[in-house]
Symmetry: C2
Subunit: 597 residues, 2 copies
C-alpha cells in the first residue's frame, strides 16, 4: 500500500514538476487569450520604465469600487496604457456568485469559486493597484473617495485613506433587501456573499446535530429540521433544490434517526415561483418541488421573523399564519448599500430607490462618475414623458418632450409635417437612442419602423403631423424595463464601459453615438444595450430548467448537463475551472461533506 | 470550447455514474478492511432487532469523550456487540492534525483533512451514537457526565444533557499551554484546531493586505510583515517552513511592492530547534532556515506579548529584547483542559500537572475510567521508589518498595538470596511490568537480563541478596520517560484499549498480564507499551527530515517524497486521501490561494 503510494506519488511528482512550467505558460496563454510579450518587457525593461513615468503624469486616474462581475469585466478589457487604475474592495477576491447556492451545501467548495483579484490584475503587468478596503464616502465635488480597511486595528498603520480620481466607476453591488420586515436582519441568513453561504452550510449541520441530541421532544426535533426559504426567485429556488439534495442524498444517511422529521418550505409572495421565467419552467419547477416534498407557499407575505417563528399573511384571505422554523434563508431582491444611499443624497437622487444612470452608465447629472452592476439601474430615456434633470442638489424640470425635439429635428423643411423620407432619415438614431421602439415593434409583430406611421386602418400615409407622430409612438414607452440584477447584465455593462474608456479620445473627434435631437451634434458613444442570453434554474436531482436565446425552453437532465458545461466554461480562471469540476466529481463519488467547519 | 466541455463532461458524468455504485462498494470494502455482511443484515432484519434489544439491556455503557486520534482509533476496532457506545465531542469530525501546518497556508484545504465522525461510525452499522457537545463535568462517583451542545441557543430544545456510563474513556486532547505568559491568549494565534489554522491563513493575508495600503510608513509595513513563531518543536518548525514557502512561492508574486520587507522569526527557549529529534536533524533544520532567511532565536524566553510587540529575555545574559510583530503563532507544549482539571481535583490529582493513568490507561485510583491521548500521561510504575496510591480524596502511602516484593516473590525457598534460576523465573514478568528494565539494558548494551546480576567486575554470580538485587536495578528507573503528546501515541493507546475492551470477559478468567508481585495472581492484560515508529519534520522547499525506525535519519528531497506517501496512506478515508493528494497537485500547478475567506 505504502509502496504503491510512494511509487505513484513519485511519478506524479516528477511528471507535474516537468510539465509545470509548460502548464503555467499555457495557462497564461489561455487566460489572457494570447501570448504576452514577456521577452519584450524584459529586454526593454529600463526603457519601458522611463516611458511609463512619463505616461503616468498624463494618465487619467480611474478609481474602481468593487471586485464583482461588473468591475472585473471592466478591468479585463480596459486599456491601462491610458489610465492609472486603482481598485478598492473589502473582498480581495472575485466570487463566481451563480455557484453560491452550491456552496451552501458543499456541492462546490467556497474556495473553488473565488479567484484572488491580484491574480486577475497581475495579468495586466501589475499596473492596476488594488486596496482591500471599503469605500466609506464618495465626494463627487472634490473627486475623492474615502476608504477604510476592514482589517483588525491591531496591525500597524492607519486603516483610512483617501483616493483622488478623474473617473470613478461604482460597481459595489447591492446588499440584501429586507423590505424593513422586522426580525429579518437578526434571525435570517442570506445568500449574497461567500461568507453567507458558508454560514448556511454550518447552520444546516447545526440544525441536524441539535435535532439528534438526547432529551429533545419530537416537536422540538421537527422545529429544528424545518428549513424555510423566503423568495421564489432563481437563487431561492436553486438553494431549496440544493438543500433538498444535500439532505436526501447525504444527511439522512448519517442522521437516520431524524430523516422523517425534515421539511423544507419555500415562501413566495407572488402567485408562482420563478416568475421572471417562462410559465412552462415555473410550473415544471412547482411540480418537481411537489414531488420532492418541498412545500411551496405562493401568495404568502412574510410579516416578521422571530428566533423560532416566521409569521406570514396570505395575500388572498389576509389570514395570519405562524410556523416554527430551524433556519430561515432570506433571498428576496436587492437593496442599496449605505455608501450609495449617502452618495445619492448628495447628488439629489435621495428620493429614488436605486442609483440612476443614463444609457451610457454615467450617473445622472454627473460627468465623470459611472455606476454599473447591481448598485445602479439604467434609467431608460422616455420618448414621450418630460425629462427630469438633476445635478448636485439642484433640479431643473425641462418641460420640452423628446418626441417634439425628434419631430423638429426630422422636419428639415419646417413644414410641420414629416414625410416618410424625413422619418427614415432619423429613424436609425431614434432606434439606437430609444431601444423601447424596437421592443415595441417586436411586441406588435411589425417588421419595419415605417409601419408605425401607418394610419389606423393600416394604410400607408404620405405625411404625418406632430399629433399623428405622437399617437404613433404613444405606446412605445411601455416597453422600457429596468434590467435585472444579474451577473449577465453586470458583465455586459463592464465590457461596454471598458470599450467606451478605451476609445474615449477617438470618439471625442469622431463620435459614434446617435444624433442629439435637442442640442444637435452626436453622442460620443452608442448607448449601452443589454443582450439577454437566457437563464438557468437548477432544480435538484440532476434536473434543471433553462430559457435559452431565441425563446427556447429546455428542461430536465440534459439541461443540467448543459448547466454543468456552461458554468464550467464561464469560470474566471483555469484554476477555479479545475476546482469546480473536481468538486462536482468528488460529490458524485463521495457525496458532500458534513463536517461542521 | 463550450462544446468541448459539454462532451467531456457528459462522458465523465456517465462514466462516474456507472462506476459510482461499484466505487462506493469498493470503498466500504477497503475502509473497513473487509466485506460487510449487508445482505445478511437485510434478510434477518426482524430477528436481529429482537436480538439487539435483548443484548442492549445486558450491554455495558461506554461513553467516549473526544473525536481525535485516540478516540477514533479506539472506536475503530471496538467490538460493539458487547458495548453500548456513545461518543461526545464538540467537533463532529475527526481532523488529521499532522497536516494542520499545511492548512495554515492553503497547501491543503481544511476540508481535505477532516472526516465526519458519523461517516466513521456509520461503518459500525449505526450502533455507535454520537452527540456534538462538550463535556462540562465528569462525575466519577455517580458515573455520569454532564454535556452541553455548543450550538446557538436559538434552536429549539435544551442544550444540556446527562449521560450514564459503566466505562468512561476520556480522550479529549489538550489545549494550548501559555505558561501563564501575559498577553498570549489575547494576541497570539494557535495551531491546535482546524479553526486555528484557518484563522492563521486569514491573518497572513490580512498582514499583507494591510502592509500594501497607501499612507503607511516603511516601518509600519515591515512591522505588519514580521511573522513570529514561538516554539521550535515539530509543529512550530513545520509552520515556519510552510509560511516561508507560501510567502516566497506565492505571495511575493502578487504583492511585489513589499517583498523585501517580509521577515520570519522562530523563537525557541532551548539551545536548538527540534530538540526531541536527532542532533543531525536539528542542525540540518537550523542550517536550512538560515539559508532561507528565517531568523532562529534560540535561548530566548518570551516574557509577554502585546498587540504590536513581543518581549523576550535571553537565557544567557538575561537581556530584555522587544521586537514589533504583525502576527505571533504560539506553538509550545500542551495544557490541561478545564474539565480535566476539575476532574483531577475531584479524584485527588489536583496537584499534578497532567491526568495520570496506570500502564493499563486506567485513571489512577479509579476502576472504570480510562484516559488516553494528549489529555493524560502514563505514570510508569517505578521499580525502586515507594508507590503512591490515591483514590477519591483519600491517599494512602504504601511504604513497601516494588523491588522488595519482586525479591520476595522470586525467592521461593525464602533463603534470603536469589539464584539465577529463581531470577529467570520472574524476569519475563518484571520486563513486561517495568519496561524501563529493557530500556536500561539497551542503554547499557547488555543482551541478557541476567547480565544485570553480574558483579562489579562483570563475573557471573551464583546468588544475590536483596541489597545486591537493589544495586543491580538501581539505575533502571532513570529510563522511565513520559510519552510525547503525539498522534502516534494516541493511536497506539486507542488500539490497545479497544483490544482490552474486546477481551475483557476472556481475560477475567484467563488473565494474560504479568504477575502481581505484591498481591499475587496476574494482571488481566499486558500493560500498554509504546512503539516509536519515527517522526517527520518537513522543512519547506520540498525538503524534509525524518527519524525512521532503527535509528535511521533521512533528510532532503527524497524524505519529503516519503512524507507525501506516508501522509497520503495514513489518511482516515479514501475521500480525504483523494482530496489531500488533489490539493498537493493543485498547489504544484496553480500555487496556493490567497483569497481572504
Amino acid at each position: 500500500m505504502l509502496l504503491l503510494f510512494c511509487v505513484l506519488f513519485g511519478y506524479i511528482y516528477i511528471y507535474i514538476f516537468r510539465i509545470r512550467k509548460k502548464l503555467q505558460f499555457l495557462l497564461v496563454y489561455y487566460s489572457s487569450g494570447g501570448l504576452l510579450a514577456y521577452a519584450d518587457s524584459n529586454t526593454n525593461g529600463a526603457k519601458s520604465i522611463s516611458v511609463q513615468c512619463q505616461n503616468e503624469t498624463q494618465k487619467k486616474k480611474v478609481v474602481v469600487l468593487g471586485t464583482g462581475w461588473a468591475s472585473t469585466s471592466f478591468l479585463k478589457d480596459l486599456d491601462i496604457s491610458s489610465y492609472d487604475v486603482q481598485v478598492v474592495s473589502p473582498r480581495n477576491y472575485f466570487a463566481f456568485t451563480p455557484l453560491l447556492p452550491s456552496v451552501t451545501c458543499g456541492t462546490v467548495e467556497a474556495r473553488s469559486i473565488v479567484e484572488p483579484v491580484r491574480n486577475i490584475i497581475k495579468k495586466r503587468n501589475g499596473e492596476i493597484k488594488f486596496w482591500e478596503a471599503e469605500c466609506l464616502k464618495i465626494d463627487p465635488e472634490n473627486k475623492k473617495v474615502l476608504c477604510r480597511s476592514n482589517i483588525d486595528e491591531n496591525l500597524a498603520g492607519s486603516n483610512e485613506f483617501c483616493l483622488d480620481f478623474d473617473y470613478l466607476v461604482i460597481a459595489i453591488g447591492a446588499q440584501v433587501n429586507t423590505f424593513d420586515t422586522p426580525g429579518v436582519l437578526e434571525h435570517c441568513l442570506f445568500l449574497k456573499e461567500v461568507e453567507d453561504a458558508q454560514r448556511i452550510r454550518r447552520t444546516v449541520i447545526d440544525c441536524f446535530e441539535k435535532a439528534v441530541l438526547p432529551e429533545l421532544t419530537e416537536e422540538e426535533r421537527k422545529t429544528n429540521l424545518h428549513f424555510v426559504i423566503v423568495g421564489g426567485g432563481p437563487t431561492g429556488v436553486e438553494f431549496a433544490a440544493e438543500l433538498h439534495d444535500f439532505i436526501h442524498e447525504d444527511l439522512v444517511k448519517i442522521y437516520p434517526s431524524v430523516k422523517d422529521l425534515v421539511s423544507i418550505t419555500l415562501i413566495q409572495s407572488g402567485d408562482h415561483i420563478l416568475n421572471t421565467f417562462d410559465e412552462r419552467i415555473s410550473s415544471f419547477a412547482e411540480q418537481k418541488f411537489q414531488r420532492d416534498g418541498i412545500e411551496v407557499l405562493t401568495g404568502h407575505r412574510v410579516m416578521s421573523v422571530s428566533q423560532r417563528m416566521i409569521n406570514m399573511k396570505t395575500r388572498s384571505k389576509g389570514e395570519d399564519i405562524s410556523i416554527p422554523h430551524g433556519m430561515v434563508v432570506w433571498s428576496t431582491g436587492v437593496g442599496t448599500r449605505p455608501v450609495v444611499k449617502d452618495f445619492m443624497e448628495q447628488i439629489g437622487q435621495g428620493n429614488r430607490r436605486v442609483l440612476a444612470t443614463d444609457e451610457w452608465l454615467k450617473v445622472k447629472g454627473l460627468d465623470d462618475i459611472y455606476a454599473l452592476g447591481d448598485c445602479a439601474t439604467v434609467d431608460q430615456k422616455k420618448i414621450m414623458a418630460s425629462s427630469f434633470n438633476s445635478f448636485m442638489f439642484t433640479s431643473i424640470l425641462i418641460l420640452q418632450e423628446d418626441i417634439s425635439a425628434i419631430f423638429k429635428a426630422a422636419d428639415k423643411d419646417n413644414s410641420g409635417t414629416l414625410t416618410i423620407e424625413e422619418f427614415i432619415d432619423v429613424v436609425e438614431d431614434v432606434v439606437i437612442r430609444y431601444p423601447q421602439v424596437e421592443l415595441h415593434l417586436k411586441s406588435k409583430h411589425l417588421f419595419e419602423v415605417t409601419d408605425l406611421l401607418k394610419d389606423v386602418d393600416g394604410s400607408d400615409r404620405e405625411e404625418i403631423d406632430i399629433e399623428g407622430f405622437k399617437l404613433a409612438l404613444s405606446h412605445v414607452d411601455k416597453q422600457t424595463k429596468s434590467l435585472p440584477a444579474t451577473a449577465q447584465v453586470a458583465v455586459q455593462q463592464g465590457a461596454y464601459l471598458s470599450m467606451c474608456f478605451n476609445k474615449r479620445e477617438k470618439c471625442k473627434s469622431e463620435p459614434e453615438g446617435p444624433r442629439k435631437f435637442r442640442s444637435g451634434g452626436r453622442h460620443e458613444f452608442r448607448p449601452f444595450r443589454y443582450r439577454h442570453l437566457g437563464q438557468f434554474a437548477p432544480l435538484g436531482g440532476e434536473q434543471a430548467a433553462a430559457e435559452l436565446p431565441g425563446d427556447w425552453v429546455s428542461m430536465g437532465r440534459s439541461t443540467q448537463w448543459l448547466w454543468y458545461s456552461i458554468y464550467a466554461s464561464k469560470q474566471v480562471s483555469w484554476r477555479t475551472r479545475f476546482l469546480v469540476i473536481g468538486d462536482w466529481g468528488r460529490r458524485f463519488i463521495f457525496g458532500r461533506d458534513s463536517s461542521r467547519i
